[in-house]
């Protein structure tokens, strides 16, 4: 019996909540049907109390929002003052006309530069290809160590691979390039190493995740026929992850074309170096020409990438 009583009580409570949720109109509409005037009075008193609580709640929230908005606006104003108002050489900038004039110098193309761009453009392209290829080679052990289900010695190899992935991605390609220029000297090789290092993180991470998501059934089957670890890798794991990994590699290659175009800024070969030279000799139409060339090879990369990734799947 007590159980039944409790249930009835719970249902009653539920009705009360429902009435509150519906708001005053519903409560008033329900009241006459109950046929008792006193009940209607009690309901409206309850409604008034709820309304008071809601109003107070909303007032509090409004104040809170105002405080947050004020802090955000103050932060923006302070940032603008420090980084733009105080930090800009307003005298050098001059009037709006001067600004437009300076920007206008970039309009136009230095056609004479084109013959000199072929070799650096090809170099940029090759840096991207070789950098990606080298990155993929380094990725093989990193992805192997970094996939929880196949890592050879979890307490050591797994953290090692994860560290490698994070290190690769958290350092910008320009910084990698500066490092390798210091190590192996100016030229394309520094760029290739920089792109390889920068590519490891993404490719290895995606590959490791693909390996972790495989269907374990084929692995079991190859182990059951007496296959060794290498055969399990080649037959049971690789066929399952290869399309995904190829897609990731092509995507990274496309990004690497973009990256290799600017690596020359720090002396790591390619179009970036020409860009830098045009800028330093104030040949602004030449800068535009180099930008067009970069745009061109990036477009080529995107088209190839689009079809290659379709084919991979």
């Amino acid at each position: 019996m007590p159980l039944v009583h409790e249930t009835a009580f719970a249902i009653q409570l539920d009705h009360e909540n429902l009435r509150r949720a519906r708001g005053p109109e519903t409560a008033e509409m329900n009241a006459p049907s109950n046929g008792a005037g006193t009940d209607a009075g009690a309901t409206s008193a309850a409604t008034a109390a709820t309304a008071d609580r809601l109003l107070a709640d909303r007032r509090r929230r409004r104040v809170g929002r105002l405080v947050i908005a004020t802090v955000l606006v103050a932060a923006v104003v302070w940032s603008v003052d420090v980084t733009i108002v105080q930090d800009t050489d307003w005298k050098r900038m001059g009037s709006l006309a001067n600004v437009l004039e300076a920007a206008g110098e970039f309009v136009g193309v230095d056609w004479g530069l084109f013959p000199d761009l072929a070799k650096p453009a090809l170099e940029t392209f090759m840096i991207a290809c070789l950098g990606t290829l080298l990155g993929v080679l380094v990725c093989i052990p990193v992805a192997w160590f970094g996939a929880l289900n196949i890592t050879p010695f979890k307490p050591v190899t797994y953290p090692l691979a994860r560290l490698m992935m994070t290190l690769s991605r958290s350092i910008h390609e320009i910084v990698w390039a500066l490092f390798f220029v210091a190590v192996v000297g100016l030229g394309a090789m520094a760029g290739i190493f920089a792109l390889a290092m920068r590519s490891i993180g993404f490719i290895a991470k995606m590959s490791a995740e693909a390996i972790e998501d495989i269907d374990p059934g084929p692995v079991e089957a190859i182990r059951a026929v007496g296959g060794n670890g290498f055969q399990v890798l080649i037959y049971a794991i690789l066929p399952q992850v290869l399309p995904q990994i190829l897609g990731v590699v092509v995507f990274e290659w496309e990004i690497n074309i973009r990256r290799s175009a600017v690596l020359g800024l720090v002396g790591a070969g390619g179009l970036g170096l020409v860009f830098f030279r045009q800028m330093n000799t104030f040949n602004f139409p030449g800068v535009t020409t180099v930008l067009l060339a970069i745009l061109g090879i990036i477009l080529i990369g995107e088209v190839v990438s689009h079809f290659a990734r379709k084919a991979a799947i």
């Binding site: 089957a221 059951a224 026929v225 007496g226 296959g227 055969q231």
Partner: protein, 250 residues
């Protein structure tokens, strides 16, 4: 002499976890089609995986053709496994490889790493694979990708792959549970007739009691890791089934 002797076999997945097998003993003879029946979670899959050490037993002995297998590791263990073919509930084919490559993968235990890498299987293997594919009725699907086949056809590839190993015994882990009743009967019939042709005894997990009684000559019943019945299929009756399945089925 039995081809497989299992004594007091015990298994648990973690040292603190529940015991899945609580001391199972039985013998499989060279001409047996041996069924293990029981409800889900009784330990059938664990038991069958202890035979080829896909699961490490925690106690007891398994002797295959007189050789103690529970202590085998590395190369010796792979040598054991290539002598024991296995057929799976979910087929466990490699979807993106061709039917031919899937069947050839049954030879990996006999194939070196370099040949495996380039899928350079010798001519005898290819011929054997073609014969087996013909025997299971897939001669027209040799070059198709495994994921292009229907369920029944996929299990036929699984059968061909297992026999490709030239096995001395077959382990069947619920070979028909992913198939409809008609195809299930066909597949069981095919496995049984091929096992007889090649002279290979079978140890088969199966929860469909009717199929077990139709195709198998010996049955053991498992319930909660304990053997509840052991005897020829004819002695299986409703009372004993009721015990094994604890009123679950009948």
């Amino acid at each position: 002499m039995p081809i497989l002797e299992v004594r007091e076999l015990r298994a648990r997945y973690t040292s603190a976890g529940p015991e899945i097998l609580k001391g199972i003993s039985f013998d499989v003879e060279a001409d047996d089609f041996f069924a293990i029946i029981g409800p889900s979670g009784a330990g059938k899959s664990t038991l069958i995986r202890c035979i080829n050490k896909l699961v490490e037993p925690s106690g007891g002995n398994v002797r295959f053709r007189g050789e103690e297998v529970t202590r085998l590791r590395g190369r010796e263990l792979r040598g054991l496994r290539r002598n024991i073919g296995m057929i799976f509930q979910e087929f466990n084919l490699i979807d993106r490889l061709s039917v031919m490559d899937n069947v050839l993968s049954g030879r990996l235990g006999y194939t070196g790493n370099l040949r495996s890498l380039f899928r350079a299987f010798p001519r005898v293997d290819i011929e054997r694979a073609l014969q087996l594919l013909h025997r299971v009725g897939l001669e027209d699907h040799v070059d198709k990708r495994a994921d292009a086949l229907s369920g029944g056809q996929r299990q036929r590839v699984g059968i061909a792959r297992a026999l490709m190993q030239d096995p001395k015994m077959l382990l069947l882990d619920e070979p028909t549970s992913s198939l409809d009743p008609k195809i299930s009967r066909e597949i069981m019939g095919l496995i049984k007739s091929m096992a007889q042709e090649y002279g290979v005894p079978c140890l088969c997990n199966i929860h469909d009691v009717a199929l077990a009684m139709e195709f198998c000559n010996r049955i053991i019943g498992l319930q909660d890791g304990v053997k509840m019945f052991d005897g020829p299929a004819e002695l299986m009756d409703r009372t004993k089934l009721g015990e094994i399945y604890a009123m679950e089925v009948l």
